[in-house]
């Protein structure tokens, strides 16, 4: 390892107080205790578009929404085996999240890659919610160790294993990284801005493609050559 400073480590409840959330700084490392549930496009569509009744008490039981599908199985006797858990990219769920945060009272959204500061400022901050990113996106085994028990799997018949609502009891589950704060600042945008300063130098000596693509121009009358 290079000569680097270690980030702060914090234990946090999955039903956190506003004070505990206010303490969090971008880049802090968080370990979670309490109940967490998985919800992604399947759950959002079913709860918000089809207006199905959410099968648990939110947010009193859990205020932590994990964007995840676990590597898991449901045994013949109805019990669950869960090996590894890893987050999936959250930006795809922006369509449903404003309504979901309001309806579910979620205070922690846990996933991969975070959202934009615009998302954070427009509906995370007003709902008092914070975004936590998983680390490395491949630490599934470490996160799996933090799962004390799978308490329930809701909507498996309707949505399938990958989209079902898994209710997980966490015991020092982590690590997660604080990727938004209570002002709506975005860790990834901060990092991107630093990296962007160097990009022009890296691109020196390269050239744009001879044949352009739509998307590189929004003018559909453009011939995209040259």
């Amino acid at each position: 390892m290079g000569n680097t400073a270690m980030p702060r480590e914090i234990r946090l409840s999955t039903t956190p107080t506003p004070e505990a959330l206010a303490e969090l700084r971008l880049g802090d490392i968080v370990y979670l205790d309490g109940l967490m549930y998985t919800a992604r496009e399947g759950v959002y569509k079913r709860a918000l578009e089809e207006k199905a009744n959410i099968p648990m008490e939110l947010p009193s039981e859990s205020a932590a929404n994990f964007h995840c599908s676990p590597a898991a199985r449901i045994n013949a006797d109805g019990s669950f085996d869960l090996g590894a858990v890893t987050a999936t990219a959250s930006f795809r769920f922006a369509k449903w999240l404003p309504e979901w945060l309001e309806k579910s009272g979620a205070k922690l959204v846990i996933g991969k890659g975070g959202m934009s500061s615009k998302d954070y400022k427009s509906y995370f901050v007003p709902n008092g919610a914070i975004y936590l990113s998983t680390v490395g996106y491949g630490t599934g085994a470490l996160l799996g160790r933090g799962v004390e028990n799978v308490e329930a799997v809701h909507w498996n018949d309707e949505l399938g294993l990958a989209q079902a609502m898994w209710v997980i009891r966490c015991n020092r589950m982590g690590p997660f990284i604080v990727a938004s704060d209570n002002e709506g600042n975005c860790l990834f945008e901060r990092e991107n801005a630093k990296i962007a300063e160097n990009l022009h130098r890296v691109y020196e000596g390269t050239r744009p493609a001879t044949l352009k693509r739509y998307g590189e121009t929004d003018d559909r009358s453009d011939e995209v050559i040259g």
Partner: protein, 320 residues
């Protein structure tokens, strides 16, 4: 004759190994990256990854919750005979994939693209992919499973000879920067580049360059080998590390494969084999011996041959 039961049993073991055990060549590469990384957050991430691989092996649990899209590469020596023929082989690989999905367990990732039907076993229309290669001589069969992530880090572009190396570099950097932000490509990755072929074969070459070669391996064409070194360096000088944080670990290695293409074109594809570079290999011999390894040894002189006819070199072939 290679027994179909042995093929299925071996395939099951490979599914388990691929999901749980990080290949040593990638681990060595990542440890090297962790040593030079000086970004605070990037360093923390790499350290967590190294701990994660250890936890996965100790607990025998999948290293990542997204266990990717299992696929098979089958290579046969020219004299190999399989009990029940290729249809039995494909059935055995599909069974092993389904059983391991439930057994390890893996995430049942594979769904119908429109109806989102999930058989909960990673088997469906066209899934798992099974691709074939052949080698002169030998009564063995190599089973290779790769569980590559299936969403981010891959792109294709039709370039032309006038785009030159400068154009190749641009598209390479564009792909890394676009998918590296927020770490969507789950870097540091093994980057595979396909050059030439047709659009489909260009994608196949690049994917195989990422998944079927190992860290530290170099293309036998010395000028391409130089490009591989240069591109690895270039990717790591972007200033981006794990998860898109400030850092210098983007590319664990860069592998380039080429195929002859249309005289007017220079197709290019870029593929990222992620932090969980899952691959496992076994050679099954006709006498029932099974040898496990992590290097697919896919790109042999025969696979890269340029000539009409193939003359078997005088040196002895590995055979059972």
């Amino acid at each position: 004759m290679i027994s179909i039961d042995l093929i299925e049993k071996t395939a099951g073991v490979l599914m388990d190994k691929a999901a749980i055990e990080i290949p040593q060549d990638y681990l060595d590469g990542l440890e090297g990256a962790a040593e030079v990384e000086d970004g605070d957050l990037s360093s923390f991430v790499l350290q967590a990854m190294l701990e994660n691989y250890k936890a996965a092996k100790e607990d025998r649990r999948a290293m990542c919750g997204d266990t990717g899209c299992p696929r098979w590469y089958v290579k046969m020596g020219n004299d190999a005979r399989i009990e029940g023929g290729p249809v039995a082989l494909e059935a055995a690989l599909r069974r092993a994939t389904a059983d391991a999905t439930n057994g390890v367990p893996l995430r049942p990732n594979r769904v119908h693209p429109l109806w989102r039907t999930d058989h909960n076993n990673n088997v469906g229309i066209g899934a798992p992919e099974i691709e074939y290669g052949f080698e002169p001589g030998g009564e063995w069969i190599d089973l290779i499973t790769v569980h590559k992530g299936g969403l981010f880090g891959t792109d294709y572009r039709m370039l032309f000879p006038s785009d030159g190396i400068e154009g190749i570099k641009r598209f390479y950097l564009d792909s890394l920067v676009a998918f590296g932000k927020r770490g969507l490509a789950c870097q540091p990755a093994i980057i595979g580049i396909g050059l030439g072929g047709s659009k489909d074969t260009c994608m196949v070459l690049g994917k195989r360059a990422a998944c079927l070669r190992t860290v530290g391996d170099r293309n036998p064409d010395p000028k391409i080998a130089e490009l591989e070194d240069e591109f690895k360096e270039l990717g790591n000088s972007i200033g981006m590390g794990a998860m898109g944080f400030v850092g210098k670990s983007m590319v664990i290695d860069c592998n380039i494969e080429v195929g002859y293409c249309h005289t007017g074109g220079m197709q290019m594809s870029v593929h990222a084999f992620c932090l969980s570079s899952r691959r496992a290999v076994a050679r099954i011999h006709s006498d029932g011996r099974v040898e496990y390894r992590t290097d697919p040894e896919w790109f042999t002189p025969y696979q890269r041959r340029e000539t009409v006819e193939w003359e078997t070199p005088q040196c002895h072939e590995k055979s059972a």
